[in-house]
């Protein structure tokens, strides 16, 4: 079977195209997503799709409450919308629709209705100051009723998008601005290569399944999106010093693949969670506590977090670099941990 190398942007675009061709209930909603002569959404994911699906690539006003309300109502009536925001931060504008309506409607109905919809939101601290920067994963992880996926490779982006569209529940997909691989005028400086060989066959990455990106014996590193890539770099730095890191990419943040993390921690005895969002109320707090509650006897060292400071993201490139956990900072934390325990 032949394969093609695609960026995350290209993989998502192809997955959306295929899902729309496969299922007439699938449609897209968002700002600037299908304007002829425009750019196919903030990161070009839907570029050109309107040529094949003019009726189902729906350009919206700058109106996030409407976007997610439209998605919610259409899903309740049996459609399968894919709604996106240009920057994850804008989800706050639509918070009632997402957190009060989409997350709770099925439950309030006593399970009598379903909301098969996908929400897509770019995240990441990327030179835009505080309001186009937030990693919102932990905020939404605290809201029951939404599944959350976060692909760090094009292979996973394709497989998770397919799984999300075909799922019967609301799925929120966080995508990282520095991993898209968007080209031309929408290219991001500081991007990392997250492209993958994409097989021809119709595969899915099941929601709820994490993956071991690198095997190791001394420390378990858990990181998603950009932090997965930075964790791999940190692992490479430490390898030369004789510290062996296992790197786990959860891929789905809710429901979390706790077993995969537990199995790794049973082996290494040390858990470090790497997160791009502030430490307060974060991913590390949740993942770390789940591990502490379930396998306390397996821990040789305190569960450790490498996170952004408890401030909004700053603009200054100097401060921004200090804000985002860099591979060097991750490596230094692990060095200290292994030395002490």
């Amino acid at each position: 079977m032949s394969a093609t190398r695609l960026s995350i942007t290209e993989a998502l675009r192809r997955a959306i195209h295929e899902e729309m061709a496969r299922d007439s209930r699938v449609f897209c909603l968002g700002e600037d997503i299908g304007i002829p002569g425009g750019y196919g959404g903030a990161f070009t994911v839907t570029l050109g799709l309107e040529k094949d699906f003019r009726e189902r690539i729906i350009d919206t006003p700058i109106s996030e409450i409407a976007i997610f309300g439209l998605a919610c109502g259409a899903a309740a009536m049996g459609m399968r919308p894919i709604a996106d925001v240009q920057y994850g931060d804008f989800l706050f504008c639509a918070m009632d629709q997402v957190a009060d309506q989409i997350a709770k409607l099925r439950y309030m109905s006593g399970g009598k209705l379903t909301l098969p919809l996908v929400m897509r939101a770019p995240v990441g601290v990327t030179g835009r100051g505080s309001q186009h920067a937030q990693n919102l994963e932990p905020i939404f992880m605290s809201i029951p009723g939404i599944k959350i996926v976060a692909p760090s490779t094009a292979y996973d982006a394709m497989g998770l998008l397919r799984a999300a569209v075909r799922d019967e529940d609301p799925v929120l997909m966080f995508e990282h601005k520095l991993l898209y691989g968007s080209k031309g005028m929408r290219a991001e400086s500081g991007s990392m290569d997250a492209s993958s060989e994409i097989p021809e066959e119709d595969y899915v990455v099941p929601i709820g399944q994490g993956i071991v990106r690198r095997e190791g014996a001394d420390v378990t590193l858990v990181g998603s999106l950009l932090m997965m890539h930075f964790s791999l770099r940190a692992a490479e730095l430490l390898e030369e010093e004789g510290i062996s890191c296992e790197v786990i990419d959860p891929r789905t943040l809710w429901p979390l693949d706790l077993e995969l993390i537990q199995d790794s921690v049973r082996k290494t005895g040390r858990l470090v969670i790497v997160e791009e969002s502030p430490k307060q109320g974060g991913l590390g707090a949740e993942i770390g506590m789940q591990v502490a509650e379930t396998i306390p006897d397996c821990l040789l060292a305190p569960i450790t977090r490498v996170a952004a400071p408890n401030t909004p993201a700053p603009f200054s490139p100097v401060m921004e670099k200090a804000y985002v956990p860099q591979p060097e900072r991750i490596a230094e934390t692990i060095r200290t941990l292994v030395a002490e325990y």
Partner: protein, 343 residues
């Protein structure tokens, strides 16, 4: 106290509407209004006695709005309601047993006891579980209408909301979206003059909410929300417009709560004159008079109907009281379709 200017002289006169509806349909509408009133009176009593859990926002006084609109719907149409949904639920065809079951949080409730008073609804009967965030249902109704339009179905989505919702951002975003896509939706604003204790006149310089329709380039209409037949006629026109593909209507119904905002509210913020005026316009005696003038019902007939309705409401509530409680463990059910709740 000029709040009821409504559609006087605008819509068709009552006799013409009655003639079009026919005796059976008109009597059925009266009967449904009585059912809502009786249900709410009994619920109110149970509440004051402390025999019902939770809280309630009651519909007493606004019956003509729900019944007038819902009597104009077709089977495939879907409505969405608010934190004050009992009247809409009964008007749309959810039974008193299912409604009472939900109020008691029983398994026989229309949401199996997971919704409660503020989330009453059942899509199988054409009603989204009620959305208790003020203004929250308006964008969702646009979405339901979008689904109908994308599939080329002749169905209409109807949003019920209050004057309070008209100052929410969701009102603006939803109406604009429904307008630009020419969606088959009807936005029914029941202007009962008060958002909780705050008079609408204190929070808007625009007297008629329907006037805001021009901001979205859509039709705005006003009808007398105390006259079930006037509401029916206005709703039928708006629904027809939606079905023809001519887009949404903002239909304002001038009405009044003849009860508190929620369970123990004595309405001390309303003037005596105001209360007396609206009491004199109670939609149920008003409907009764029109039906009597048409020669379709007499005092004895009304009495018999009321007695029968009281008995049915009592039976429904008794059934709900006797119905099984859910198991505590059931709280983990019904959140996701394809996933267990992680514990």
């Amino acid at each position: 106290m000029s709040k009821d200017k409504g559609n006087k002289g605008n819509g068709p006169a009552a006799p013409a509407i009655l003639k079009r509806l026919g005796r059976d349909k008109a009597l059925g509408m009266f009967r449904r209004m009585l059912e809502i009133r009786e249900f709410e009176e009994q619920v109110r009593f149970l509440f004051l006695e402390g025999k019902m859990p939770g809280t309630v926002h009651q519909y007493i006084g606004q019956e003509a709005c729900a019944v007038g609109v819902c009597s104009a719907l077709e089977d495939g149409d879907v409505i969405a309601s608010t934190h004050r949904p009992h009247g809409h639920a009964l008007a749309r065809g959810i039974t008193m047993e299912e409604a009472a079951g939900e109020l008691y949080g029983k398994t026989t409730g229309c949401c199996k006891g997971k919704g409660g008073s503020m989330h009453m609804g059942d899509l199988a009967r054409g009603m989204l579980p009620a959305i208790a965030i003020v203004g929250g249902n308006l964008p969702i109704v646009a979405g339901m209408a979008l689904a109908f339009k994308l599939r080329g179905e002749k169905r209409v989505a109807v949003s019920f909301f209050g004057d309070g919702a008209a100052n929410e951002g969701a009102f603006h975003e939803a109406l604009n979206a429904a307008a630009i896509y020419h969606l088959p939706a009807v936005y029914v604003c029941e202007n009962n003059q008060y958002g909780a204790s705050t008079a609408f006149s204190r929070v808007s310089l625009v007297e008629n909410i329907a006037d805001r329709a021009c901001a979205y380039g859509i039709e705005g209409r006003i009808a007398d929300g105390m006259d079930v037949f006037a509401v029916h006629a206005a709703a039928a026109e708006a629904l027809e417009r939606a079905r023809r593909g001519e887009g949404p209507t903002l239909l304002e119904l001038k009405t009044f709560r003849l009860c508190g905002h929620s369970r123990r509210d004595p309405n001390n913020y309303m003037t005596k004159e105001e209360k007396e005026y609206w009491q004199s316009r109670d939609p149920i005696p008003a409907c009764e008079r029109l039906l009597a003038e048409a020669g379709w019902i007499d005092a004895a007939g009304v009495e018999a109907l009321k007695k029968e309705t009281t008995a049915r409401a009592e039976a429904a509530i008794a059934a709900a009281q006797a119905a099984p409680e859910p198991k505590a463990e059931d709280l983990y059910e019904d959140l996701y379709v394809s996933m267990e709740v992680p514990r």
